[in-house]
Every structure is written in structure tokens, then in C-alpha cells.
């Protein structure tokens, strides 16, 4: 969707990663904020989430392979994907709460 970056690159980040990390899911006037841009990245990265995004990101360390494995033909919504992912990785209660907080931050 974007081939440059947002307006504010993060030092040491590629423009693509900068765009993912700085995505603000709930800003007014953005027509495409329902697309959870940056959600997977927030599940992978181990950096402090920028405060201005208001995303509650206490999740880190998961991989593209795990993201891919959680998809199946029966997954038709973000919420269903979240539930399947949590079950697949065997998240404990704290981790489940963190997943819920993160997905809620993105509106799901």
C-alpha cells in the first residue's frame, strides 16, 4: 500500500518496519485503520511500543511460521484467528491476556 514510509522513519528501521511499528489503529479520519497493519510485527518485536499509537503491546517473540500455521480454511475473522493462535501456541493466562489486549488495541 505504501512504497516509501510514513513521515517519520525510525533510526535503524527499514521504511517498511517503521511503517508497521508506527501504525496507529484508531486515529480519526483514516479510512483503512480497520486493517490491522503492524499486528504481526507487534507479536514478533521486542521493542517498546511508541506511546502515541496507544497500542498495548506486551507480546513478542512469535514467528512467521507460527502465524502461518494458525491459518486454516475455517478462519474467517481476526477474532477467530486470535483464538486459534492462542490455542496453537499454548499461551498461559498472562500471555492470553496480553494477546487480548493487543488485539483489542487494533479494534478486534
Amino acid at each position: 500500500m505504501r512504497d516509501y514510509t510514513n513521515n517519520h522513519p525510525i533510526t535503524g528501521f527499514s521504511s517498511h518496519l517503521s511503517d508497521l511499528e508506527n501504525f496507529v489503529p484508531n486515529v480519526s479520519g483514516a479510512h483503512f485503520s480497520w486493517i490491522p497493519v503492524g499486528l504481526y510485527y507487534d507479536m514478533m518485536d521486542n521493542t517498546i511500543e511508541p506511546s502515541n499509537t496507544h497500542v498495548n503491546d506486551q507480546v513478542s517473540g512469535y514467528t512467521n511460521q507460527q502465524f502461518f500455521n494458525a491459518f486454516s480454511s475455517s478462519i474467517t475473522s481476526v477474532s477467530a484467528y486470535k483464538t486459534n493462535f492462542i490455542n496453537q501456541v499454548g499461551a498461559n493466562q498472562t500471555a492470553t491476556t496480553n494477546f487480548n489486549n493487543l488485539f483489542t488495541s487494533y479494534g478486534y
Binding site: 500500500m1 505504501r2 512504497d3 516509501y4 514510509t5 510514513n6 513521515n7 517519520h8 522513519p9 525510525i10 533510526t11 517503521s18 508506527n22 496507529v24 489503529p25 484508531n26 486515529v27 480519526s28 479520519g29 483514516a30 479510512h31 483503512f32 485503520s33 517498546i48 511500543e49 511508541p50 506511546s51 502515541n52 496507544h54 503491546d57 506486551q58 479494534g107
Partner: protein, 207 residues
Amino acid sequence: MDIKKLKLIIILSSCIIFQNCNKHCSTITAQKATFLSGGYTLYNPLKDSIQTGDTLFIGITVPEKLTDNITNTQVDFSNASNMISDVSFSCLKGLQSQAGALDSFTLVKGVGSFSVNSRLPNYSVGITFIEQNGNYSYALGCIPQKKGIYVIDVSDIPYATKKCDNATISIISKSSDSHLHYLKDIYYGGGPIDAIDSTHSYCFKVY
């Protein structure tokens, strides 16, 4: 050229001209966006601590003539629509921990209008600018009602539209001191501050 061919050419030409004249331009598209800079925020007074009941004024200005970040050329973005941004209010709680603090402030309308952002009702108001004197302007008075250490963020305009062009317009703080030590010490645990936080945030203590 016989008369049938001439008629055909006239009909085809008319169709092409008609189609182009009525080409529909959707304002909601996922096409490549333009990234413009030049918007700025000023705060007054520039104190790192204020009392409950004091008023902090926020003035936001976005010139009609902005700079295209990719081509570094000036762009006239006058008469644009969807000039909407957010002003958010957070209370710093600890390392990577914040809470929505919109209910800790009484907001007084200055220039433009605001309404609670329904997607982030504890944190932010969506603001709509007024176009006047070569700028898009917005002004707001904020009166804190509770003690705490707060961060105000003004977001970029994510999806300004002019005819068929879409643009993200950056709005950065031009205040000489945004008291970012609060953000650095509390939220970032003394570590480096994110690039957007460092240019879009304004911190202060309410006692």
C-alpha cells in the same frame, strides 16, 4: 471518407470525451499516498508543571502550501477535505504503561471543532480544522482536573484528500521544550524515545 466512417469517428470521439469529463474520482481509495510536511503544534504556557484548573492552550497550524517529502517540492493543498487529526491525552503509569486520560481534562473549543474519537474514547478527540488565511487552523484549551503526569499527542492527518490526491500530513511540535524527560524517564525507562513520540508529544505534570 464516407459518411458512415465519419459518423463512427464522431460517436467514438464523443464517447471518449464524455467518459473523461465524467471520470469518477473516489475519495476512498488505497492508492499510493503522498507524504507532506509543514504542519506544527504550539503549546502555551510552556511550563513543565501546572496546577489543576490551569489552562493549557494548544494551537495547530497546517499551511495550505506543504512540502512533498518524496520530491521535496511545494504542494498547494488548499481546499482539501478530510482534514481530520486526533489530539490524545495519556497519563503515564510506568515502563511502557499508560492510561487514557481524556476524562482528566475539561476541553474548551477555540478554533475548529472536536468530538470524542469513538474508537479510542478514553484517550482522544478527533479534531477538524478551519481553513483561513492560507492555513488550516485549530485551537483548543485544556483544563486538567486531576493530578498526574500527562502526555498530549497530536497525530498526523492520516488521509487528507484533494480531488483525486490523498496525503498524509505530518504535524510536529514546534515548542522549544516539550518536557520529554517525563516520557523518557517513565514510559521508556530512561531509554531512547521513539521518533514520532519525540516530535509529536508534549508532557507536563499536574499538581
